[in-house]
Amino acid sequence: MYLSDRRRILVPPLSRRLTYVDEKSPSPTPATKKAPTKLDSAHKIYLRTSLLPDATGSAYIEHQQIKILALVNGPRSQKGSFSPAAKLVIDVKFLPFSSDAHVLGIQQGGGYTTSLERTLADFIYASLVPSIRLGQYPKSGISVSIVVISGPPVWNGLVKQIGASCVTAASVAVVDAGIEVFDIVTACAVKFRMGAEEQTEIDLDERGFDHDCDDHGNKMNIGESAGASHPQSIGRGVVSYMASRDEISGFWIDDESQEQTVREATSSIEGASLIQVLKIACDGAKEVRKLVNAVLSQVFHDHEEASVQATKKIKIAE
């Protein structure tokens, strides 16, 4: 698999940490701190476009710990056999120590693409492909490079948050490049209790599994036997959504429970709650879209002002 690194034994990309259950320890009081449920997009997400003049288009997004830079190059001429539509290539790179993934050995170590990066790239590809008018660019290639500068701990199952920000940043960068699209794709990460319909919310966790543990002194044996509240049976997902067309272009969902026992085989995600998950995620994505629209039209006004200034200068010079 990893031709350049045969000495280390690498774990699968989305594996779970070993947990130890201490029956004697008292069941911890669940954290009383209520996480914010609504995405107040305007002040929580920072988005900028056209940062890099060398790339055709670029976008930078910041949301909590996530810092992601997306670059678009193209359309470029492509050699090889004739293709009537453009070929989209997505490339995801984690900077070293940008997340906790280096612990798992699934982060960039020696220039090769890790399986986590490939998984993310596949999801972003699936999310973006329906939005881009690839047929307008025959015999061309569009390459999107995404750099994860910083992210929440992947170890704790927060890779969906990274995926959501990647999709939004990539789509905005594609628009910034002037490539024709059907619509802008925005994505939102959600978390939910498996099987419980009412407890779906936008995923704003910053520490994942450790959320409960750290409040009690970072002991590994606490938080696993939490009785009624079942904090461990949590699923996380990310939904890519085209708001203007009301179309879902990407959907990735996982059971992120810490502990998997036979008993939990029954706690599958049910139909009604799946719809709830999609609804909450699409609402979140719409919030993000509002912000994206505001940022894009702001960029537009800056452009217009600059061109007005330029024409004024020309007139003065004349």
Binding site: P75, S83, S140, I184, E247, A294, F300, H303, A306, S307
Partner: protein, 249 residues
């Protein structure tokens, strides 16, 4: 799923009307600028131009809508005969009625900081392009496409081929490639086919197509055209053979 304009969270500023090249009164109901995915107007009144697409599910007054595909200013232009033809040909939606050519065209133009208009320029059939001649052989000339249409530059260097039979309209079998082009010449040509994986097929078989800029082999000075098949060097006075484009203003 069908989309409705009412639920669309796009920001538009209806206060400033869209720019119109020819017909200012026709543009009053359009937004001044557009964000990708924003429905602009009904497809019954307008035809989709560059930077827009026709979406039959979007609802603006019925009959589908024209939706912005890029970020930029909305421009309305009255159809000329050539644009009407090209919009008919380039339309990927076959459901646009045949009377489409008479509707004013809506396009979204990307603003650029220096004021010029650039589109993501990928050569398409019938586009007029500026190319540089790379290699010559008796059957064809290999060229690199530099500029597509009226954009400032091509997205990238695309390869092209001008075959001997596509150089001029008459006496096609008597074309000698070395008397028509030389490596380094800048040539105005028209795309006749997307060609194969590597090359576009180009033609110069029109009066306004052919060499527009060439250096003299004797002195290296840029030459001026004498007639459609010869150019003169102002320094050495030598006359060289080229398939010249008719000078345009």
């Amino acid at each position: 799923m069908s989309s409705s304009a009412g639920s669309t969270p796009v920001t538009s500023r209806p206060g400033t009307p869209a720019r119109s090249k020819d017909n200012p009164s026709a543009a009053s109901d359009l937004p001044a600028h557009a964000i990708p995915g924003q429905p602009l107007c009904s497809a019954r009144e307008y035809a989709p131009g560059p930077g827009t697409y026709f979406d039959e599910h979007a609802v603006v007054g019925g009959g589908g809508a024209i939706v912005a595909a890029v970020l930029g200013t909305v421009v309305v232009s009255k159809p000329t005969l050539s644009t009407a033809k090209s919009s008919l040909r380039k339309d990927d939606e076959k459901k646009v009625p045949a009377a489409a050519d008479l509707r004013p065209r809506v396009s979204v133009v990307r603003p650029t900081p220096n004021g010029g208009a650039t589109t993501g320029a990928v050569p398409d059939v019938d586009d007029v392009v500026l190319v540089r001649v790379l290699r010559i052989n008796p059957r064809m000339a290999n060229v690199a496409i530099l500029i597509v249409g009226e954009s400032n530059s091509a997205a990238d260097e695309y390869g092209g081929i001008i075959r001997a039979q596509d150089v001029r309209e008459t006496e096609k079998d008597k074309v000698k490639m070395q008397d028509c082009f030389r490596p380094g010449d800048i040539v105005r040509a028209q795309v006749i086919s997307l060609g194969d994986g590597t090359n576009y097929y180009l033609s110069t078989a029109r009066n306004d197509l052919g060499v527009v800029f060439a250096m003299s082999e004797a002195s290296g000075a840029p030459m001026y055209p004498l007639d459609w098949r010869s150019m003169r060097c102002p320094v050495s006075g030598t006359i060289e053979q080229r398939k010249c484009a008719r000078p345009t203003s």
